[in-house]
């Protein structure tokens, strides 16, 4: 692609972001703002999961843990320090940091494991955090925690929180874009192809993996923090729901792991499909259709939608 077309692509993206940012202030029904909020949240989650899962090929099934940790950090900070609404929004930064710190601590031993073992150990990690939080009384325990909402009409609250989530989403996509073009991303791809060879090529695999894991935990932590403020009530069954973890993995793989656009497309389409299905049919039936979707994707497009269509159109390899 020439420089010119890059610039047009950039302008296009910028216009899209501005349109999204303006949207909640045009007085649309609250439902649409909430829907967009959810979409942005899943795009953030899938994009950041993609750093470790898509580029490096380490499938983490425990990313919901970081999401929940972010949510609880904000709730505790708000309770403990009596934060103002603006302070609570900003507390998403320390929330992300806490998630990152925990990712480093957990990632150090766990990232030595490969393939299914890594998947299982992260799954276990999510369960351990979930059960641990549920059983500690100062974290609200089985009753959950309440957060004080802002003294504003609901449209304004949703609008503000949507802007916050949009910012996080844009940042996470920017990071993903940078990764895809940097030496860092190339190193991660090399690890996915063959870790031993990568290591002999002077790629410091353990360090890169930890960095990727920590970065991929940071944004879910922030997203969790905003989500907690959005719900104003958090409970382990909500913010540590295993389904979120699995959805993240699916969205990224559905769109195409290891690409910038893949997780975005996957998250947007799956969230909309889910929303559409659960409005029109019974929840159980909707989930069954969802299950079928998994099977269909893995059988017919094992490399995700993007690569599938690129192959179909003969646009060359990615």
């Amino acid at each position: 692609m020439s420089f010119q077309s890059y610039r047009w692509a950039f302008i296009g993206w910028l216009a899209l972001i501005v349109m999204l940012a303006v949207f909640p202030w045009l007085m649309p029904p609250v439902y649409f703002v909430s829907l967009l909020f959810t979409v942005c949240m899943y795009v953030t989650l899938a994009t950041s999961w993609n750093l470790i899962g898509g580029y490096a090929g380490y499938l983490s099934f425990g990313h919901v843990a970081f999401f929940g940790i972010g949510a609880y950090t904000t709730a505790l900070l708000m309770k403990g320090l009596n934060l103002s609404p603006a302070g609570t929004l900003l507390s998403s930064v320390p929330a992300g940091m806490v998630a990152m710190l925990i990712a480093v601590i957990v990632g150090y031993p766990c990232l030595r494991l490969r393939g299914p073992y890594f998947a299982v150990v992260t799954l276990c990690f999510a369960f351990v955090v979930d059960l641990g939080v549920k059983n500690l009384d100062f974290l609200g325990g089985p009753e959950g925690l309440w957060l004080k909402s802002m003294d504003l009409p609901i449209e304004a609250i949703r609008g503000i929180l949507f802007e916050a989530m949009l910012t996080i989403m844009v940042l996470s996509i920017a990071l993903a874009y940078w990764t895809s073009r940097s030496k860092f991303g190339a190193g991660l791809r090399a690890i996915k192809e063959d870790e031993e060879v990568a290591q002999t090529m002077a790629i410091n695999a353990p360090r890169l993996k930890i960095q990727a894991f920590a970065l991929s935990a940071f944004f879910p932590g922030m997203a969790g923090s905003i989500y907690a403020y959005y719900l104003t009530y958090i409970h382990t069954d909500i913010v540590f729901d295993m389904m979120i973890s699995i959805l993240i993995v699916l969205m990224a793989l559905f769109g195409g792991g290891g690409t910038v656009l893949g997780p975005i497309i996957g998250a947007v389409s799956l969230t909309l499909i889910n929303e559409g299905l659960s409005t029109f049919v019974k929840a159980e039936l909707a989930r069954m259709i969802y299950g079928c979707l998994f099977i269909g994707v893995i059988i017919f497009m094992p490399d995700g939608i993007i690569k599938y269509f690129k192959k179909e159109k003969g646009l060359g390899s990615v």
Binding site: L59, P109, C110, R112, L113, G115, P116, Y117, A119, V120, V121, L123, C124, F125, F127, V128, L131, G132, K134, N135, M242, I246, V249, L250, L253, K282, E284, L285, R287, M288, Y290, G291, C292, L293, F294, I295, V297, I298, I299, P302
Partner: protein, 277 residues
């Protein structure tokens, strides 16, 4: 006591992981399906849960063979079979779970038979009948699978395919057929395991997530593909959870179990009893 039941549940899981490199996330969901089937048969016709196995095991075997033929065979050529199989079978697990929710509603169920409250007393020990039934079923089940693998022609072919798939094929082992049978058997054994679990615990359509963790625990501690290792691991885990129940409140026991699994994974991913086939 519970250990043997975990082992029966885990054996099939271990088998399909070891032989076919397929991690069957829906394994526990199939087990739960058999448990619900036993429950319905008991409610409707008063059929003993032990006898219900004669219905559920063949049913699951056939269903699994179909699933293998239609779905799993397509991903066996993928670059990362294990990962693809996890996602694929996860889809199956979701479908099964919601099917069970539709049919049986989310209420917890218990298998209540005429002998539920009966107890045998043997010296200082006393055994509850249903636990004993679950235990015996599990022991017999694991025994049958071990016998099948070591003594029958198909079982030997399965082990051959496991050690050297290409060489086994050269010696006239039909790899596709063997894989299909292995998968069928694995899922069928899950059916038996599910019914024996149902003797011990109450269950509802979401329970299979918890059972799945026990599966991973048993299989990873025992070593992937090691039938006797899984049995031993099941016993050890049964003892640990049993003992920790005496000291810890109930909700901490699961935390301990998951923590244990994490620690074992980090320090000994090959399991405590590495597979010798």
């Amino acid at each position: 006591m519970m250990g043997a039941v975990y082992a029966l549940l885990g054996v099939g899981f271990s088998l399909s992981w070891g032989v076919m490199k397929v991690i069957n996330i829906s394994h526990a969901a199939f087990a739960l399906f058999a448990a619900f089937l036993a429950y319905t048969l008991l409610q409707a016709w008063g059929l003993d849960p032990i006898l219900s196995i004669s219905v559920s095991v063949p049913l699951l075997f056939v269903a699994a063979c179909f699933i293998y033929r239609i779905l799993i065979i397509r991903i066996t050529k993928a670059k990362e079979v294990i990962v693809s199989s996890m996602i694929l079978t996860f889809g199956i697990a979701i479908i099964l779970e919601n099917l069970m929710l539709l049919i049986w509603s989310p209420d917890p169920r218990v298998l209540t038979t005429s002998y539920t409250s009966k107890v045998i007393i043997m010296g200082p020990f006393y055994f509850q009948y249903p636990r004993l039934a679950g235990f015996l079923m599990a022991v017999i089940g694991v025994g049958v699978i071990q016998f099948f693998l070591k003594k029958t022609y198909i079982g030997k072919a399965v082990r051959a395919a496991w050690q050297q798939p290409d060489a086994a094929q050269l010696y006239g082992v039909n790899l596709k057929r063997i894989s299909m049978i292995t998968f069928g058997l694995a899922v069928a054994s899950a059916g038996a395991g599910g019914v024996s679990m149902a003797f011990l615990y109450s269950f509802e359509p979401h329970t299979h997530n918890l059972w799945l963790i026990y599966l991973f625990l048993v299989v990873i501690v025992g070593g992937v593909g090691n039938v006797l290792g899984a049995a031993l691991a099941g016993l050890i885990i049964g003892i640990i959870t049993g003992l920790s129940l005496a000291f810890l409140p109930y909700q901490w026991v699961n935390l301990l179990t998951f923590g244990l699994l994490m620690i074992i994974l980090i320090f000994r991913p090959q399991g405590l009893f590495p597979s010798e086939v």
